[in-house]
């Protein structure tokens, strides 16, 4: 972590200390023990002031904080997950420095090293789409290709977005994920930092994926990215966000809010592969709306984190809207991947498909939690759900929690298929009989299992994903 001090940089530990001295240690509610210490109206004001935000944003943050403080933990999931969150130990804002870099040459060496390991320069050379990187909660590198600018595409970190396009953001923020949607969305709304703001003007097709990388790099830094992507009428965009984090001792906490807006005839795809270190709690609210004949696709990969709770949703608002989720989860030792998808068919002639693949290994636990809802009046609807679980040993777990709520009977087709399987010894033997080593054979089967996800990725992401899976599986053969 950078020890450099600048005028915008500030010592977060100092703030916490000060807050403790001023306000002590309150427990006003039963369900929100210890929560006042790390995040407070004063800290929110401080963050907002440092970011030089307009008043409406400060108000948004403060009202969100109030909602956060009044909300209990979700009850539908095993409560011990949330017991681990120690809000007082979290830093709500940390800065690596005061600079944003528009040129790769200006990025500091240690940060460059990180990107090198992540393979970013390679990705950049290939795509040159522009890289937005969140590093210690601060976007340190942001590059937008000139052609995109010429087309009127806005691709900014969220902070800059608020500065430059405040009216647009104000119009959209919280529309899909209201402040009080859930406790973590409220927390994010109160102390969000970083994330991306993307706007694609009507009819503009962005041919190359817009990419953002970010990572947590300091101990116990809460990460609250906020992203809004708007594909206007007939626009088309593929946004890719990937993240990795190094291991550190205390529990880190990531709670993002992602809102996608696909206007009429628009196409919007959001791809993410999260690989947080295995002490991170990863609670992200991802929601999208698809208007008339629009398509929204979530490609969601979850490899890391101690616990992930993530259910990308598409609200199919108008006829012809299509929603698609393809997800993979890899739950290794001590990990819980609780992922799934939600499709809300609010209009007739809408279609959705969900493909969820999970791998459980070394005692890890994967769950599929999904919702298919067909509203009254939403006739001529087609929805397919396929969730497949692969267990790599006898002591790992997999379960599914599908909810199907159909309120319309006219020409509604709902398919739900679920499988749980193990890799058969016979299959491994077949591959080994071709000279392939046992661990490579298992890897080939696993990579095949998630191929429906992998094939949706740009080549280097697919390669990187296979490499990460290989790392996860290292030593898996006794």
């Amino acid at each position: 972590m950078s020890s450099e001090k600048t005028e915008v940089d500030f010592d977060v530990a100092e703030i916490n200390k000060d807050y403790e001295r001023l306000y002590g240690f309150h427990t006003n509610t039963d369900y929100l023990k210890n929560s006042k210490k790390g995040v407070s109206p004063d800290i929110i004001r401080e963050i907002s002031k440092i970011k030089n935000e307009p008043d409406w944003m400060l108000e948004f943050r403060l009202s969100s904080l109030e909602i956060f403080n009044s909300m209990p933990d979700p009850t539908w999931m095993d409560g011990s997950v949330f017991d681990e969150i120690n809000y007082e130990d979290l830093y709500y804002y940390a800065s690596a420095g005061d600079k944003k870099y528009n040129d790769w040459d200006d990025v500091p060496e240690d940060i460059k090293d990180t990107f090198e390991r992540l393979g970013v320069p390679e990705a950049e050379r290939k795509f040159l789409a522009g890289v937005s990187a969140q590093f210690e909660s601060e976007v340190v590198y942001h590059h937008v290709q000139e052609e995109l600018e010429k087309k009127g595409v806005i691709f900014l970190d969220f902070d800059t977005g608020v500065q430059k396009h405040g009216d647009l953001i104000r119009k959209y923020i919280g529309k899909l994920v209201p402040q009080g949607d859930n406790k973590f969305a409220a927390l994010n709304s109160a102390c969000w930092s970083g994330g991306s703001f993307v706007y694609i003007p009507p009819g503009v097709k962005v041919e190359i994926p817009l990419q953002a990388y970010f990572r947590i790099n300091a101990e116990s830094i809460g990460q609250f990215e906020r992203t809004i992507i708007i594909a206007d009428k007939g626009a088309s965009v593929h946004y890719i966000e990937g993240c990795t984090a190094p291991t550190y001792s205390k529990t880190a906490f990531h709670t993002g809010v992602i809102e996608l807006f696909a206007e009429e005839d628009a196409y919007l795809r959001y791809t993410t592969i999260q690989n947080w270190s295995t002490n991170v709690l990863n609670l992200v609210t991802q929601r999208a709306i698809a208007k008339k004949n629009a398509t929204v696709e979530w490609m969601d990969g979850n490899l890391g984190a101690k616990t992930t709770m993530k259910y990308p949703a598409v609200y199919l608002a108008e006829p012809g809207a299509r929603g698609r989720v393809v997800s993979i989860g890899y739950a290794n030792k001590g990990q819980r991947q609780d992922a799934g998808a939600k499709m809300i068919h609010a209009a007739p002639h809408t279609t959705s498909s969900i493909t969820a693949k999970s791998i459980s290994h070394n005692g890890g636990r994967s769950s599929y939690r999904g919702l298919i809802k067909v509203n009254k009046g939403a006739s001529h609807v087609k929805t397919d759900v396929e969730c497949d679980a692969l267990l790599l040993d006898d002591f790992s777990e997999s379960d599914t929690y599908p909810t199907i709520d159909v309120r319309e009977r006219k020409d509604v087709s709902v398919m739900h298929e679920a499988t749980v399987g193990k890799v058969s010894d016979e299959t491994i033997y077949y591959l080994r009989s071709r000279g392939i080593k046992e661990e490579d054979a298992l890897l080939m089967v696993v990579n095949g299992f998630i191929q429906e996800f992998t094939r949706e990725l740009p080549m280097e992401y697919a390669v990187e994903l296979n490499r990460l899976i290989a790392l996860e599986m290292e030593g898996s053969i006794g």
Partner: protein, 257 residues
């Protein structure tokens, strides 16, 4: 003097049955010697142990050598893993090749070729070899993008096995009932490709239930297996006798000696 390519002496084996949780004796003393340049056909009724022999030699996890010797290229294979045996030059065309969803044939073939050679094979080099093999065997390139054996017809599975054989270039290729499930045209085609593969530097062990294979391949040796043993061996003429008189008659003569 060079050691034989494959030398089995009194080979006994058991197979683990998951149903009964027991080891069941299968091979009960198999003697067999195969040298380079030879084509052996192993015949016998169902349950005689033909396929088991192939899997014992390839190293199937449920099959265990319990007695006797099995040497490949002069080295005992007893403690070798299946992949080590394959890298040493053994190959088995499966009767029921396994399907692996999401694993493209092309990706699999490259991995297998690299494994066999224990080195990375540059894409261009691999592609040249692959293209040549595809052309020789008359297999379309679209085949490469399909998931391995998934949704393959019986004929496609068998041709895929033979394609692998051509690319991996084993010194001992065992074919386990490769003829089963093929119509006459496919049979003709597949065994033409098998014959194409045979040369003075390798050997084939063709396992079959039916003698019709012998119309397409000219064996140097024919063996008949019964109850875990090779009970009769001979040249191509033996197969003719079987063809004319049937298994039982030929074996009945043998049993009475």
């Amino acid at each position: 003097m060079n050691s034989p390519l494959l030398e089995l002496k009194g080979l006994c084996s058991t197979v683990f049955s998951e149903d009964t949780d027991q080891q069941i004796p299968i091979l009960k003393g198999v003697d067999l010697t195969i040298n380079k340049g030879e084509i052996h056909v192993l015949m016998g009724v169902n349950g005689s142990g033909k396929s088991s022999l192939a899997h014992v030699l390839m190293g199937h996890p449920n099959h265990q050598i319990t007695d006797g010797e099995a040497r490949f290229d002069g080295t005992s294979i007893q403690d070798m893993e299946p992949d080590e045996r394959a890298r040493a030059g053994m190959f088995l065309a499966f009767q029921y090749p396994h399907a692996i969803g999401g694993l493209p044939v092309g990706t699999f073939l490259k991995a297998a070729v690299e494994a066999r050679r224990s080195e990375e094979v540059p894409f261009r080099v691999f592609k040249r070899e692959l293209d040549a093999a595809l052309e020789k065997l008359g297999i379309s390139k679209e085949f490469l993008g399909r998931s391995l054996n998934e949704g393959f017809s019986g004929g496609e599975k068998k041709r895929n096995e033979i394609l692998q054989m051509h690319l991996l270039k084993p010194t001992l290729a065992m074919l386990d009932e490769t003829d089963s499930g093929l119509d006459v045209d496919a049979l003709k085609k597949v065994f033409h490709d098998v014959r194409e593969y045979a040369n003075q530097d390798n050997a084939l062990l063709v396992i079959t239930h039916y003698d019709r294979v012998l119309d397409y391949i000219n064996p140097t040796h024919v063996h008949i297996m019964s109850d875990g043993r090779i009970v009769k061996s001979g040249g191509a003429d033996l197969s003719k006798r079987i063809d004319e008189e049937g298994f039982e008659a030929v074996l009945g003569v043998e049993a009475s000696v």
